[in-house]
Amino acid sequence: MDIITETLAGPFQYAFMLRALIVSVLVGIMCPVLGVFVVTRGLGFMGDAISHSMLPGMVAAYLLGASPFSGAIPMAIVVALGSGYLIKRAGIGEDTSVGIVFAGLFALGLVMLTASRGIPVSLEDILLGQVLGASNSDLYVTAGLALAVMAIIFGLGKELVYASFDPTGCSVIGLPTEKLEYLLLGMLAVVVVLTLYAVGIVLVISMLITPAATALLLVRNFGGAAVVGAVIGMASAIAGIYISYYYNMPPSPIMALVASFIFILALGWKQGVAGIIQHRRARHV
């Protein structure tokens, strides 16, 4: 018993590990709640693009000695709404317009990062995330914005679903469909930045998509999938922190691996159950 308690409590004799756990769990819960919209709307590529294109904003904030969020979040929102506008108005294909914006801004960010000296962030931090280095203020920003996003989705869920399902019908009954769309993109921007700070640019997509996609395999409704996805995301985050502590590895790839592993288990279970049901039906006929 003592060994178990010791093992479980072990990482948290260090305050930074406790902060890392809280930030990871917040990200793990928040991502799938928005993620069910991202997965069912096919916004994953957009999320990936936002995560890359906010880099200049983040580097600029470091250069000015400000919190990275203060540069990255406005930049991500501008990119998200700007791409949304381009797709809607300019008639440029989604993957094309997003691809142009994302590659250009990521390249700019890389140039800024390598050209600037003396900023407290490396390319490795950007790629792998900085959850182990999260300060108290990082934790507060993450907690505040994560709660805000989840409150908005809980409060405006039915309107967001209507706008996602049938934008024309949604406008006809007098709901501000376009504003709801931009709200969704704005939330995507915020969630992407928070997630990327924790797990790094490349793995944002795994937190945003994998737990939500796993949940959608198991539960076919928005509310249920959001809850199940949040549980999976939280479990991945906690597992990532423990494994990273005991095996001395960066936590974000572990979180992504655990999330992918749960997805494979869910897929296998689903296929297996579907197979058994089919087999039984076939036998009964």
Binding site: L156, K158, Y162, S164, G169, V172, I173, G174
Partner: protein, 260 residues
């Protein structure tokens, strides 16, 4: 006949829509009565969808006006429901038939609120009317095209709309499902709804519509289908090479496609 009602559910007066130098609708006028199904026919690009967008308030006309029960659309939003072409709807969302019908209540439930008993009753009634109550727990991506249209009609009913517009609801729908949808629409008509249906299927339009609006930028004819859908008027509407279109939409498109 339609003009004898003091306040028509739908009154379209001198509506024109221009986009740049392109005239899409030219001085369109008609009045639809309560308890009436109006078929809207015309070649591709004739402005049928544009007309629906104007009626539903999505697109302000360049000139002219639309009155719903004698009021501007902005004052009676909930009275009008629009069932768009099915590819404009995201049927892959993880929703059940019940959830889609409940969308019709979103506006009356209000921001930040949850459905109440009256909302659930309205959804139950509307699903029963379209014959989808038994499928209420089915996922929408498992439904056939015709069932999806009926669920969309249920959503309009849950909304308590009195004017219902359907944009090509029969396209890609098999004959049995077409019949089921037609019987739902006829029942709603008998209960007093004003229904407009755009379609390329002239057989269906002539069989169940009370009125037929022939449109190609301007109104070519408006009246009972047996009077309006003649070989002569169709030749004028669809162009000289446009014989009576068949149910085969590809063939129809090929025949009339170059007459936009």
């Amino acid at each position: 006949m339609a003009h004898s009602h003091p306040v028509a559910p739908l009154d379209v007066a001198e509506v024109s829509v221009e986009r740049g130098s392109l005239q899409i609708l030219d001085n369109v006028c008609f009045t639809a009565a309560p308890g009436c199904i109006t078929g809207v026919v015309g070649p591709n690009g004739a402005g049928k969808s544009t007309l629906f967008n104007v009626i539903t308030g999505l697109l302000p006309p360049t000139s002219g006006r639309v009155l719903i029960h004698g009021e501007e659309i902005d004052r009676v939003r909930g009275k009008v429901a629009y069932v768009v072409q099915h590819e404009q709807v995201n049927w892959r969302l993880p929703m059940r038939v019940w959830d889609v019908a409940m969308l019709g209540r979103v506006k009356s439930i209000g921001w930040l609120r949850r459905p109440k008993r009256e909302d659930r009753e309205a959804v139950e009634d509307s699903l029963e009317k379209v014959g989808m109550w038994d499928r209420r727990r089915s996922l929408i991506n498992e439904l056939s095209g015709g069932q999806r249209q009926r669920v969309s009609v249920a959503r309009a009913l849950a909304q308590e709309a009195t004017v219902l517009l359907l944009d090509e609801p029969f396209r890609g729908v098999d004959v049995a499902s077409q019949a089921a949808l037609v019987s739902v629409l006829m029942r709603l008509r008998d209960e007093g709804s004003t229904i407009m249906v755009s379609s390329h299927n002239l057989n269906l339009v002539s069989n169940y519509c009370d009125e037929c609006l022939c449109i190609n930028c301007r109104v070519y004819a408006y009246g009972p289908p047996q009077e309006v859908l003649t070989q002569e008027s169709l030749t004028v509407l669809y162009g000289p090479s446009g014989a009576i279109p068949t149910q085969d939409h590809d063939m129809l498109d090929r025949r009339i496609g170059h007459h936009h």
